[in-house]
Symmetry: C4
């Protein structure tokens, strides 16, 4: 079942490694078939060189395994919470990419310091709070998803396609798995640039609002004119 | 038309990616046929692995598309403004390369801290001002070119082959597309070195003037003696 | 003798280089056959491209060469001390990987700033003391092993799978050579993240204890649920 | 003539690029045939992908071209000064490698912060003074060599196999071209580690003298025991 989505999810996972976002097995990408309400995700802790499309695991929106002989990623409950919270997202990615993780560990949002970020994020990259001891003890991974949803309250999931988990690492999402991967790649580069910008000038502030709005609207929404017309 | 220039511009765009200056589709290189006053540029938002010479778009010096089935880079109006402003340049490159973008975001010029920069830039790498709200609202990309031209007033385009756009990223240029790419590669390395130099010694100052002049004249102008004689 | 272990140790050494942990010949991996109490280790100062399984050297737990025509790594006595001190370890790796070495040279432990480290280390990455002049003069390499053992007093070798040698570089270990290599790879990434985290926020502190415990127990011990069931 | 040395010098130059020490054409390696007092060096400003052994230029110890149809590296006079100053060196390398150049531009020596450096340098990596205006105006490249020789006064060329030129970049040398390349590779890594060490702990000081001496003597001089016996 879902052979095409499994292949997409496999390729997305391999692509994370090719882009240098994954050390050892620290990362996972998933995709959802909204028609069937089924999520396809990487198995847990399997070496990337050995991964095949057939290894991908299918779970439903309650997180129950529907198909697959391997355990799904231990982060599966977090992915499922995100799919349930936002019907517009079709793919989710979690990595421990180096520079984005620095900001997560330093408990700093990434302010929108330049047009590179504005093209993708309509503002800062948000930071969640830490989970409480209770949230960690029971249902930890689902609660990880829940603090993301809590942080996204009042924000638009399309114009804020990712967050930093305090003391942990980033999650990104998009209209499909590929888009979630592109956002993970972009976020890592944005984080690297912000890291250096803040070292060169600790007083660096956010872009003027009118630049932020312009750059975001060039690429997103009804007035977008970046890229090619959709066929 | 312009098949040879299209191939050059394609190779230049691919070369930007090979040199690690481009993440996803963030970058573009163009070249001009001065005899015919036509500019060849990369299409907007197309994946580098899929690019062919036939995808390159031809525009005139008013920015009007002359040939090509794809939309040209959204930055085309900026390129066109530069070609109009300086008849000596034959190629233009825009990237969001990581370290040069850090300086652009930190709103810091790159002082000429060593001979690596002096070989290329006869002084600092200049920084433009931010565009105003009006300049952003109407004709944004052409105005981007115009603030570069404004910043270059009184400077020589050959001995200052690039600038940093405040809050954005670098533009470079050269006698042809290849030269513009080489300057983009060099600028990124110069920015990386300057980043570290300023962290190691925040008081680092510009090279003595006589060293700056010497290094620049070794490679440029009538007394140049670096490299091989032109055939 | 020990052909299979020699091949494993060879592959581990090559893997250190592939992961970018080794410059020139600065690194070595070893493995032990506990049944026969024999250690297999890389020869000293041989170029990685020329290494073969047959070049691996076999030494006993007194450090005496049992087989091999080449000199073993000059760090062999340190490896042997570690194998003698902790019967649970099956592989040892020593590198001068860039970011871990920065912390060793700066004489700073790596505090547990995020879940990436907590997945592997149940707390900070410890730092040894400097060797004394006497310890350096006589039996230097064995004394290097001894200060590691001294530092590990009261710590569990499985949940603290590596240390930083003051003024020197990291050692890691694991249940076999492969595990020791994975820990060396992870430590280098953890060190890179910690480096940036501390620059972004010098006040960054350790994870809350309950997160540290949770993450470590997800991957280690009786309640582990990360990865696949052992066959 | 000197076909074997030309091949060695070609391979050394290619190796500089493979090790990531060279951007564009910024670097050169040379070797000397002491019996014939002839130096083989890379031609100036030629793209590395096009280089052949036959392109290498032969000059004598007065810097006069003896064979070769291309111009030698513009830095040839500096190489020649070094060969004349120290009969023990057989190869010289000059690069603008990123981290070593940061220290040169910041006008900071690299203190011996760890055993990685001690294995190679018996103390800090020295920094030259700036050239005077007169030294820059006339005979610039030879004067570059002369300030290196001036800085090396009282130091041993074998246990200090490289220096940083203030405001410029590193030179390294060795018993042959290969050794000079290895020292360039090691210096760049040492500089990267020192950069991070000093950011993590600005008070980091040099290794205790007894550690410095021990590490250097493990690899160099009559009591060396690192690596394999010379055949």
């Amino acid at each position: 079942m879902l052979e095409r989505l499994k292949e997409e999810v496999l390729q997305a996972n391999l692509s994370l490694q090719r882009h240098g976002l994954v050390t050892l097995t620290w990362g996972n990408a998933s995709g959802i078939d909204r028609g069937r309400s089924l999520v396809v995700i990487k198995p847990s802790g399997v070496d990337y060189v050995a991964l095949t499309a057939g290894d991908m695991v299918v779970v439903d929106l309650a997180g129950k395994i529907v198909e697959g002989s391997l355990r799904p990623s231990s982060d599966t409950p977090a992915h499922v919470v995100l799919y349930n919270a936002c019907p517009a997202i079709g793919g989710v990615v979690h990595t421990h990419s180096t520079f984005a993780t620095m900001f997560a560990q330093a408990c700093r949002e990434i302010p929108c310091l330049g047009t590179t970020q504005a093209d993708l994020f309509h503002g800062p990259v948000p930071l969640t709070r830490f989970l409480t001891a209770d949230e960690v003890r029971d249902d930890y991974e689902a609660n990880t998803g829940r603090v993301i949803v809590e942080r996204m309250a009042g924000l638009d999931w399309e114009s804020t396609p990712g967050v930093l988990l305090a003391g942990h690492a980033p999650f990104t999402w998009g209209s499909d798995t590929d888009a979630a991967v592109r956002h993970a790649v972009a976020l890592e580069r944005i984080a690297h640039m912000a890291f250096g910008t803040l070292l060169l000038n600790p007083e660096s502030g956010a872009l003027p609002r009118y630049v932020l709005d312009k750059h975001h609207r060039r690429k997103h929404g009804p007035d977008a004119y970046y890229g090619q017309k959709k066929p």
